[in-house]
Subunit: 379 residues, 2 copies
C-alpha cells in the first residue's frame, strides 16, 4: 500500500452530489476510502469467520474494530507492542474504532457514569475498569486506528427529555476532552465527534451546535437504531443529517439494513457499519439482488441455482443453494463463512452501486429498485 502524503490525511473530497446524497473520498493514514461506504465489523480484531483475503475479495475498503473489546482482549498495550491492530490482524487498509461507549452503556447494570467517565465491569471476568475520554483516546492510539471515535453516552430508547438533554451536554464535554487529549493531526489518526440527543430534534440540533465548535475530522450520528420505529429513525435521519457539517464525512453508527443504508445515503450520510451481514449469516438470512433469502427453507433442498445470479462472490460463483442449505442445516462451520462472504460482498456492492448512481444522478432510481425487493423492516 502507498501511504498518503501526511498533509493529505483527513482530506475529504466530494466528487458528486445527487440531492443530499454525496459521492466522496476520505484520505486516511492507511489509504483512501470511497464514500458512501459500508464498513464490515471486526469487533475483536476479526470480521467474524473472514480472513483479510476474504475481505479484500469482497471489496472491503475499511473495517471496524471495537475499543471496548480490544482493550479487554488482547489488550491495547499488547497491540501497541505488536505494532498496532493493522499489523496484528494483517490488515493494511484503514480501520475505524468506535470508542467503546456504546458497548459500555449497553452493559446497563454493571456501569456507573460520572463527569470523569464511566466505570464498568468486564463481561469476560467481571473485573472493574474505568473509561475516561482521555483513556479511550490512549487506547485507540495504541490500537493504531485510522479513525478514532470520541467517548459518548448513547442514551437508551425511551429516555426522557431531561435525561437526554443532560446526557448530550456530558457527551459534548467528553468530546472536547477527547479532542484535547488527541491534538488534531497527531500520528495521522482522525477523530470523529458523535451527535446525540435521542429523538428530540431540538436536542439533536443543540448537540450538533456544541460539537461544531470542536474541530473534528468527521461527524457521526449515534443513538439511532436503538429500539425506535423505522419511520421514527428515518424522520430523525432526514432531519439531522443535512445539518451536519457539509464539508466533513458523516457516519451513521450501527445502521443497518439495505433500505436503512440507502435512506441514510439519501439523507447525506457517507459511512455505515453494521453487524447485520455477519450476524444474519449465522442464522442463514442472506441478502440478494432479489431480496432476502432464508437458506433454511425447504424449497431450496434441490435448488441447483446460485444464491444470487447477480453476485460474483466465491459463494455464488461456486455453490448451489441446495449445497448452502445442506451446510446450514448440518451446522457445518463452512456455512458461516460462505454466508458472511456473500452478505459482506452484497453490502459492499450496495455501497459501490450507490457511489456510481450518485455520480450519474440516478440515486433515486437505485433506491427505488432496492425498495422493490427489500422492505424497510429490521434486518
Amino acid at each position: 500500500m502507498t501511504r498518503p502524503a501526511p498533509e493529505t490525511i483527513g482530506r475529504f473530497t466530494i466528487h458528486a452530489r445527487d440531492g443530499e446524497a454525496r459521492r466522496g473520498s476520505l484520505v486516511t493514514a492507511h489509504g483512501e476510502v470511497e464514500t458512501p461506504i459500508f464498513m464490515p465489523v471486526g469487533t475483536q480484531g476479526s470480521v467474524k469467520s473472514l480472513c483479510p483475503q476474504d475481505l479484500r475479495d469482497a471489496g472491503a475498503q475499511i473495517i471496524l474494530g471495537n475499543t471496548y473489546h480490544l482493550y479487554l482482549r488482547p489488550g491495547d498495550e499488547l497491540l501497541a507492542r505488536r505494532g498496532g491492530l493493522h499489523r496484528f490482524a494483517a490488515w493494511d487498509r484503514p480501520i475505524l474504532t468506535d470508542s467503546g461507549g456504546f458497548q459500555v452503556f449497553s452493559l446497563k447494570e454493571i456501569r456507573k457514569i460520572s463527569e470523569e467517565g464511566v466505570e464498568f465491569r468486564s463481561h469476560l471476568d467481571g473485573s472493574k475498569h474505568f473509561f475516561s475520554p482521555e483513556k479511550v483516546m490512549a487506547i485507540q492510539a495504541n490500537i493504531g486506528s485510522d479513525i478514532m471515535m470520541v467517548l459518548d453516552e448513547c442514551v437508551a430508547y425511551g429516555a426522557d427529555r431531561e435525561y437526554t438533554a443532560k446526557s448530550l451536554e456530558l457527551t459534548t464535554r467528553w468530546a472536547r476532552r477527547c479532542r484535547e487529549a488527541h491534538p488534531k493531526g497527531k500520528n495521522g489518526q482522525l477523530l470523529f465527534g458523535i451527535n446525540q440527543g435521542g429523538f428530540c430534534k431540538d436536542l439533536r440540533e443543540r448537540s450538533l451546535a456544541q460539537l461544531s465548535e470542536i474541530d473534528f475530522d468527521g461527524m457521526a450520528i449515534g443513538g439511532l437504531s436503538v429500539g425506535e420505529s423505522i419511520p421514527e429513525m428515518y424522520d430523525m435521519l432526514g432531519h439531522i443529517t443535512p445539518q451536519l457539517p457539509a464539508e466533513k464525512p458523516r457516519y451513521l453508527m450501527g445502521v443497518g439494513t439495505p433500505m436503512d443504508i440507502l435512506t441514510g445515503i439519501e439523507a447525506g450520510v457517507d459511512m455505515f457499519d453494521c453487524v447485520l451481514p455477519t450476524r444474519n449469516a449465522r442464522n442463514g438470512t442472506l441478502f440478494t439482488s432479489r431480496g432476502k433469502v432464508n437458506i433454511r427453507r425447504a424449497e431450496f433442498r434441490e435448488d441447483d441455482s446460485p444464491l444470487d445470479p447477480d453476485c460474483s462472490c466465491y459463494t455464488c460463483r461456486t455453490f448451489s443453494k441446495a449445497y448452502l442449505r445442506h451446510l446450514h442445516v448440518a451446522q457445518e462451520l463452512l456455512s458461516y463463512r460462505l454466508h458472511s462472504l456473500h452478505n459482506i460482498t452484497f453490502f459492499l456492492k450496495l455501497a459501490s452501486q450507490a457511489r456510481a448512481a450518485i455520480g450519474q444522478g440516478r440515486f433515486a432510481q437505485l433506491k427505488a429498485r432496492y425498495a422493490e425487493v427489500f422492505t424497510s423492516g429490521r434486518g
Copy 2:
C-alpha cells in the same frame, strides 16, 4: 480436470520402494492420487471449515465423505439428482466414501446386527434405518464416490476371540455381497475390502485370506485405533500390512497422528484418513515442524513469529502466533479455519515428504527426524 481413460481407472503403480514403504499412484475416475497420501475427512460433504479452494491450497488430492452421514443428510438420492457429491460440493478431485459401518457400529445401543445387515436409529431424529451390503453399495453409487468401501463390522476393543472370529466371517460374507452388488469396473467406481480380526494375528490373517479371494481394487485395515495401546497397534500394523496384496493400494482407516502415519507408511500402507487435524484445530492443538503446539499457552501472548516457519500455508504466511492465540482465546470463528488450514497442510506435507523420501531411499531418516519432535502418543 482431464478424466483418465476408462481402462486405466483402478490402476495402481508402484514407483519406488524403501523397505516395506512404497511410493505409488492410483488412478481414479476423478484423477490420479499419489501415495502415500493423507485424505482430509469431509464427513457431511465439507471438510470442517474449509472450502474447496482451501483444500487445493493445502495440496489435498482426495477427500473423504461418509456414507452414513450423507445418507441421512442431505440424502444419497438427492445427491444423485444433483449429479453426485463432487458436483454438489464443488470438489472435482477424487472422493473416497467409507461404508458407514464404523459409524453405525459406534451407535452401540441403537443398532442390531443380523446376517442380512444392520438396523440402526438415526442420531439426528431417532428414525429407524437398515443398511445391507447391497444398500451401502447403492448409496455410495448415488454419492458418486471414486473409492467405495464394503460394509464391515468394526468390533469394539476388548471383544473376545469368539465374537471377533464370528464377526470377521460376517464381514467377509458382506464383502462378497458388496462385490456382487457392484460389479468391478462399473461406472469407474473402485471398491476396497476391509480387513478385520481385532487384535488376534491369526484372525487378521484369516480375514485377509478370505478377502483375497474377492477381487477388490484395494485393501483397507479396519478396527485399529479403537482403544488399544500404541505398541499394540504398531505391532498389528507391522504384522498384517506386509501380508496385504502387494500390487494393490493399502488403506489404514481412521489413523492417525504423524507418528502413526509414518509407522503405517513404514509398514507398507499407502492411504490414511483421520479427523485429527480438523478436530485438533478446534481445541487449538497445532502440528508443526517443531512438534505439537498448544496455541492457548500464555507464552504465545506476545509471540510475533509464525506458527511454523517451515510451513507455507496462508496461516503461517500471514499471521503471528500472538494473533492466532488471540483468535482462539476470543473464540473467533476464523480461528478454526486458520488452524484447520494449517493442520491439513501439515498432514499433506508429511505425506508429500514421505513420497519424496521413499523415492530417495531415505524414509528411515525422515521418520527419525519426526520422531525427534513427535511422540507416538494419541493426537
